[in-house]
């Protein structure tokens, strides 16, 4: 499974989305469950999946899936595949 696929599954499972709702452009303000507790769940899931702990500032500053990718890539986790 590619890192993109892992992230897609993580976002869908964390925020209880339909697969069709997912995209890299998905933004926090468009997801009801992406609230403060959703951020906690997502951070837990990112650590389990990618081994990286968001700092509190990173976690609360994330506004979209693309932001997650950007932070993880800056930590050496590649999303270049496929």
């Amino acid at each position: 499974m590619t890192n993109h696929e892992k992230l897609r599954d993580l976002i869908i499972d964390t925020f209880l989305l339909e697969p069709s709702e997912y995209s890299l452009e998905l933004r926090r303000e468009n997801v009801d469950t992406w609230d403060s507790l959703g951020i906690v769940s997502m951070a837990v899931g990112v650590h389990e999946t990618f081994g990286y702990h968001f700092t509190p500032d990173e976690a609360t500053g994330i506004e979209s899936v693309a932001d997650i990718v950007r932070i993880l890539e800056s930590k050496g986790i590649s999303f270049a595949e496929g």
Binding site: D13, T14, L16, T33, V40, S41, V44, E48
Partner: protein
């Protein structure tokens, strides 16, 4: 022990002395009302709406739900009133917590507010006399769940986690018997976890307790909050361990003996009662996933994880 602050602990004699200053009333579970009225020397009221405007002191004697009702009522209606919380049983820790879990039209609502803290908490060990073993195991499960889930919470900082590790070890050292030390340890667990949140055990309990209202477990008791915590503690522990090394790593770091923890959790488990809960768990899994407590679980809980809890080994 570095317990986070919680209301001062009084004994019944200290409470009686305070109540003797006058204008004091008791709101009690019916089964303790006569005994408590006599022991405390104050009149009782049948409900909070009957507390007179002249009252200056109120004692609430009951379980967690009743204590939470009094805490919220005092904040909203009579913030000038001195409030003593006297738990009829340990476990909920409501007497020591700024959290109130309220049932409003069948929906659980959680409030966190320092103004909810009672002025004192009172321990009356004799109330544990005649406590049925099934009730005691349920209360122990509630207390242990508070300590364990607070300890594992992603919102706990290292200092709080250290306190919760000590509290957890203290709880595990207590016998499954009506020992009054359970009151102190469970109050500390609840006060500490209120600063970090809990996890999936509580998410399940909050979502199922109302939906299982009217059903009885094998001992003839309701599937209340404490009972559900005691039933799901061991399976959730197994789930957390199966899906993340976090529990094992933190246990080593803080000197928690996982074998002792797991043994105690399984002592509180009952396969037949667990099986009775499964249809409700399956029907309400999405609500469990959305519960605020589930969302601060130490391991991300995904939709497909329901299958873990319906495995044959738990039945």
């Amino acid at each position: 022990m570095r317990f986070p602050e919680h209301p001062a602990r009084w004994n019944v004699e200290q409470l009686r002395g305070e109540l003797a200053r006058g204008d004091a009333f008791l709101w009690s579970l019916e089964r303790f009302r006569e005994r408590a009225t006599e022991r405390l020397g104050v009149p009782s009221v049948a409900g909070l709406s009957e507390v007179p405007a002249s009252a200056r002191r109120l004692v609430v004697l009951g379980g967690g739900a009743m204590i939470d009702e009094a805490k919220v009522w005092r904040r909203e209606t009579r913030p000038d009133l001195w409030l003593a919380a006297l738990p009829s049983l340990f476990g909920s820790g409501a007497e020591a917590s700024p959290v109130a879990v309220l049932n409003r039209d069948g929906v659980k609502k959680i409030e966190v507010d320092e103004r909810l803290l009672p002025d004192v908490r009172v321990v009356w060990p004799e109330l544990l006399e005649d406590l049925p073993p099934a009730r005691l195991r349920a209360a122990a499960g509630d207390a242990l769940s508070h300590a364990l889930e607070g300890f594992l919470s992603p919102l706990a900082d290292e200092e709080l986690r250290g306190s919760l590790a000590e509290i957890l070890a203290g709880l595990l050292a207590l016998p499954l018997a009506p020992d009054p030390d359970w009151f102190e340890a469970s109050a500390a667990a609840c006060a500490a976890q209120s600063r970090a949140g809990v996890g999936l055990v509580h998410g399940i309990a909050h979502q199922l307790e109302g939906r299982l209202a009217g059903e009885r477990d094998g001992a003839g008791f309701a599937f209340g909050h404490a009972k559900l915590c005691s039933l799901f503690l061991a399976p959730v522990l197994a789930f957390d361990r199966a899906h993340s090394p976090k529990l094992a790593e933190l246990a080593v770091l803080h000197g928690i003996d996982l074998a002792v923890l797991e043994t105690r959790a399984w002592q509180l488990f009952d396969g037949e009662d667990y099986s009775r809960c499964l249809p409700a768990l399956e029907a309400n899994w999405r609500a469990v996933l959305l519960d605020p407590c589930t969302r601060t679980n130490s391991v991300l809980v995904r939709p497909q994880h329901l299958a873990f809890f319906t495995e044959e080994r738990f039945r």
